[in-house]
Subunit: 227 residues, 2 copies
C-alpha cells in the first residue's frame, strides 16, 4: 500500500496530498512529527528527518521512499502521467516550477516559519506561547506575498499560466494552512480570494479542509467554498 | 546569446555552470551580487532577487529567464536532452533529485551559510571579520555531511547510483567552493576524496577551478586533479 508520512497542517505534506488526490492515487496517511522521532521511523526512510515522505510501490515494481516535497511532486508527475500538473513547453514548465518553489521555499521561510510554526508546531511541541514579534513579522511578509500572487493573477488565470499547475497547488497548500489559523486578510486581496475559491472547490482539497487540530479549531469560513 | 547571472563562489551558480559545460552549452557569465542590486537588474529577471538566473533562447524560440537553481537544472535536462544528467527510472531519478536537493538546500543551510558566506560574502559586502563561532559550527556540520557522502559512496560508484547525476554535480559545486577556502578535511575522507578527484578531472570543472577572488587565493591543491 502507498503510504505518506505527513503532518496535517504542514504545507509540504498538504501539497503532496493534493497532488495524490488530483491523480486519483490513494495513500495511507501516517502522522510523523520530525521533533519526536526517537525510534528513527522517519530517519530510516529519510535521512534528512523531514516530512513528507512518500513510500510508493511504483508500476515498475519494488518499493521506494521519496523525499523531499519537490522530488515527490516530480516523481508523481513522471510516474503517473494522467492529469499532468506541469505544462508542456520547457519555458512554461520552468515558470510553474519557479512559482511552486517560491511558495514551498521562499514563502515558507518568510511567512510560515514565523506564523504557522509559531502558532501550531510550538503548541504541539509544548514549547510555550507564540512570539508575537515573529507573528507580526510573518503577517507583514504574508501581505507582500499575497500582493505578488495578485500581480501574477492579474496577468494569468492561474498562478503560472492559463491552466492549473503545481504552482497553484503549492500556493494553496501554504495558504490553506495559514487560513486554518485565520491569518489571511482575504478582503484586501479579491483576486487571490477568487483564485482560492476556485481551488477550494476542487475535490482534491476536501480531505485537507476536513483536518482538525485538537483544541485549535479553524475559523467558520475555513472549509466553506463560498467564503 | 545565452546568459548566466552568477557569482563565482556561489555553489548554486557553480552547479549551473557545470551542467551547461556537461551539455556543451556556451553562456556569457555576468556577475551579479544580490545585496547590490539598486538598479534592479537582478530583480527584473528574478523577483526573488537571487542568483543564479539563466536567460536562455530555447530551441522553440523567444527568450526566458529561469530561476532558481533546481528549476534551471530541470529545464536544461529537459530542453537539451544530450548528456542526460538524470537516470532513466522513476525511482533512480527520485534518488538523484533527493541528493541534489540535499546538497543545494540542507548542506547549504547547515554548512555553507556558516562558512562560505561568513568568509567570502561578508568580505565582498565589507561587513567585517568572520564570526569564528559560526565557522566552527559550520565546520562540524561539514564533517557530518562528508560522513554521509562517504556512506553513500560505500554503496555506489557515484552519489545517487552507478552513474554521474545531478547529485554529484550539486555536491561538487558545494565542495569545490568550500575547498577554495581550504575547509575540507580530505585526509579523513578518502572515499570522498577519490570521488572528488574523479569529478575534478572532468573538463566541465576546469573553468570553475580557474576562478579567483581578489585578495583571497585558494590553497595550492585547489585546482590540482592529483591533490
Amino acid at each position: 500500500m502507498r503510504t505518506l508520512l505527513h503532518m496535517p497542517l504542514d504545507p509540504a505534506s498538504r501539497m503532496v496530498r493534493i497532488v495524490l488526490a488530483e491523480k486519483g492515487l490513494p495513500a495511507e496517511l501516517v502522522e510523523r512529527r520530525p521533533w519526536d522521532d526517537a525510534e528513527g521511523a522517519l530517519a530510516s526512510v529519510n535521512p534528512a528527518g523531514t516530512v513528507p515522505v512518500l513510500i510508493d510501490e511504483p508500476p515498475t515494481g519494488g518499493e521506494v521512499a521519496i523525499s523531499p516535497v519537490s522530488t515527490i511532486i516530480e516523481y508523481l508527475d513522471e510516474a503517473y502521467s494522467n492529469a499532468p500538473l506541469l505544462p508542456s513547453t520547457s519555458a512554461a514548465r520552468a515558470e510553474a516550477r519557479r512559482i511552486s518553489f517560491w511558495f514551498l521555499d521562499k514563502f515558507d521561510k518568510e511567512v510560515s516559519d514565523f506564523t504557522l510554526r509559531e502558532r501550531v508546531d510550538k503548541r504541539l511541541m509544548r514549547r510555550g506561547q507564540p512570539d508575537y514579534e515573529k507573528l507580526k513579522h510573518g503577517g507583514e511578509a504574508l501581505v507582500w506575498h499575497l500582493d505578488y500572487a495578485a500581480w501574477l493573477l492579474d496577468q494569468r488565470h492561474w498562478l503560472a499560466c492559463e491552466r492549473l499547475t503545481i504552482a497553484d497547488l503549492a500556493a494553496a497548500a501554504q495558504i490553506s494552512a495559514l487560513d486554518y489559523i485565520d491569518l489571511v486578510p482575504w478582503d484586501k486581496f479579491p483576486a487571490v480570494k477568487d483564485w482560492y475559491a476556485r481551488i477550494k472547490s476542487r475535490p482534491s482539497l476536501r480531505p485537507i479542509l476536513r483536518d482538525r487540530i485538537d483544541g485549535l479549531p479553524p475559523p467558520a469560513h475555513y472549509d466553506n467554498p463560498d467564503f
